[in-house]
Symmetry: C2
Subunit: 451 residues, 2 copies
Amino acid sequence: MRLSRYFLPVLKETPADAQIASHRLMLRAGMVKQQAAGIYSWLPLGFKVLNRIEQIVNEEQQRAGHIPLLMPTLQSAELWRESGRYDAYGDELLRITDRHKREMLYGPTNEEMITDIFRSHVNSYKDLPLTLYHIQWKFRDEVRPRFGVMRGREFLMKDGYNFDLTKEDALHAYNRHLVSYLRTYERMGLQAIPMRADSGPIGGDDTHEFLVLADTGESEVFYDSEITDLKFGDREIDYDNVEQLQGVLEEFTSRYARTDETHDEAVFAKVPEERRRTARGIEVGQIFYFGTKYSEPMGATVVGPDGARTPVHMGSHGIGVSRLVGAIIEANHDDKGIIWPEGVTPFDVGIVNLKQGDASTDSACEALYRELKAKGLDPLYDDRDERAGAKFATMDLIGLPWRITVGPRGLASNTVELTSRRTGESEELSAEAAVNRLAEIYAPVKAAAFA
Amino acid sequence: MRLSRYFLPVLKETPADAQIASHRLMLRAGMVKQQAAGIYSWLPLGFKVLNRIEQIVNEEQQRAGHIPLLMPTLQSAELWRESGRYDAYGDELLRITDRHKREMLYGPTNEEMITDIFRSHVNSYKDLPLTLYHIQWKFRDEVRPRFGVMRGREFLMKDGYNFDLTKEDALHAYNRHLVSYLRTYERMGLQAIPMRADSGPIGGDDTHEFLVLADTGESEVFYDSEITDLKFGDREIDYDNVEQLQGVLEEFTSRYARTDETHDEAVFAKVPEERRRTARGIEVGQIFYFGTKYSEPMGATVVGPDGARTPVHMGSHGIGVSRLVGAIIEANHDDKGIIWPEGVTPFDVGIVNLKQGDASTDSACEALYRELKAKGLDPLYDDRDERAGAKFATMDLIGLPWRITVGPRGLASNTVELTSRRTGESEELSAEAAVNRLAEIYAPVKAAAFA
């Protein structure tokens, strides 16, 4: 993309009402614009990051064998009366009346609707196991929306639902989600720690929240420091292998790690003192096993191998897709701006032309742009007629992990400058070598994508 | 995808309340499920088609230089009061009140919001031309929703908005949309004819609707038969070339083609009688130039080259993404089911194993499945333990354009059977030759995708 043809409305001033770094930086970098309290437009740069996150979530869900569909944003109140949640949910549920005075709501979650889909179409245990998921906009009418997209009202979530014949099978589905989530967050450059949590209005016994450590996190968390040494890495996973997934669950959840909701001082005291940590965390996902809580009242049953009808065991599993954009920034920024991990960056590399309008720098930049694209990379070329300082400041603010600077002095010795946004270190090398280096850097990101 | 692990709830019986073919077939093929009047869940097969259509729209918009962003589904009433549409829009506007008694609405279109984004961030004519678009769910509270996704209440639309300094520039943007739409529909296997139309509640003078001819269309249309001979084809387009695009506009709009809203019997009478056609059409898109209708009341101005502030010239341009799924089926089906064009089919090819459980047919099917995937094709393998007749009926119903049948008799002579859904013709050939044939058939589809 050429910046002269893009829409990147960066702000010079820091918005006064933005209290946390991600909110400030998303406004300054022209990623979002607030349209109403807790409701945002995703401007092109922000939307691009949102798409990359969504794509990683999709790939990892499908790798785990989960099947995408799409439920609508509006639901009928009728369905929520069946589960008893229409009256129980409180003021955060946005209730709507249509022209025919029918009661509806803007879905904050989809347990009822997916259970309705299941009971309408599935009849036999032979069609299990089944996990369906969607990535759809939700609404939660927060009394005081704040922190930008971190606590918005209209938000994008991936929510998946498993249907299984037995509790045992459903716990395997739970483990599939845990493992796929570990992998998902690592691809985004995040360490998200599964912590024992409280089930809240979804219900159920088994539940883990995934938390990213950050000073601005909304939850206080308590954990054994050994847990931050765990890496999922590129291990081979067979999602049908019950023992393997149970092993991963145990590896990642056997150490103490809890939010303030479930924290137990007596248990925590057994962790060796030098490994006890207290910090703050941002919740970026949660998985639940809740058995027959919805299937029983709503009649979601299957005929089992013995010919008898039995309610299915279910769980639900969410990833906060729009919230992740904020969480990633909270964990990756400095005073100058955002520092995107390679896995989610909106553009792979920025090209800064130091002397726009000069025939030789212009043509060197154009050639570089083409060669990067030929390698499957996605460059943002700052071809505006602006001072170098302004171009650097924009690149630092929007946080592309790599920058190539092209100027007459370097070109005289056939070099360009490749700079890492994270370390600030620069290297002079030929344009060809710079392209090859970037292709190498991004090779693991491309390889992680689902074929 | 293996069918035994997919969620494809086909119905044996024709739903009684579905009046048109696309609605019946989408229900029978397990593509959608109605959740409330005019509100649907997109089950996995339907969602896959929806995604393919969305991807083509995205690719062609970006090819034309238009920039994606995403506006929220809910909007504040305040914004619509500025344009005067809050009171004018009538009962189809779904009005919502939040917990703080603020008036909101579920957006049926986004002229106001995009104008607000523009006026907040753009100040100079140097930032023009600019065209922003999004693909987002909309709501129109139809008094009598019907025909499935063809006239639903919650629907997916691509809506794009151009901002230009002059009327002339805005008409070039209009032409960019016309050309990109012709290309978009052709990639979906549709002939959509641009017809002079009425602007309705969007406003403006210049507008064309794109109509697909089909007996079940909601509009009566009148046209010169020469227009159906026009093909966009794979011509090279430079979207910055004003004359070239004007030439395409003239080529595709100079012949008589109007909907009942703008039909003029006296002008139609001048078309030679043997070329006069009356038919029905389904509207799948519309483009508008409306000048300063929104920019003036909402203060969307730029500083021009002369230093004076001037309201920008705008247009809006829509493609009915969810409606297209229905329109494509209306134009492509027979008594047995859907017949997908290659450009939008949910799976490229179906594999039918005639003797599931037989070691040699199973392994031949598995090998075929892997080889198709290795060629970048997306097969659906019916690996269920079902009779051949049931497998064929399912494949015909869901309408994959190609089917490979694998059975013991063919394998004895090293052949499989490749069948066209459209013609019903079959050919016996080696598995390798079948894979190569399919790769050839789909090569133009893959080549049309935006690199």
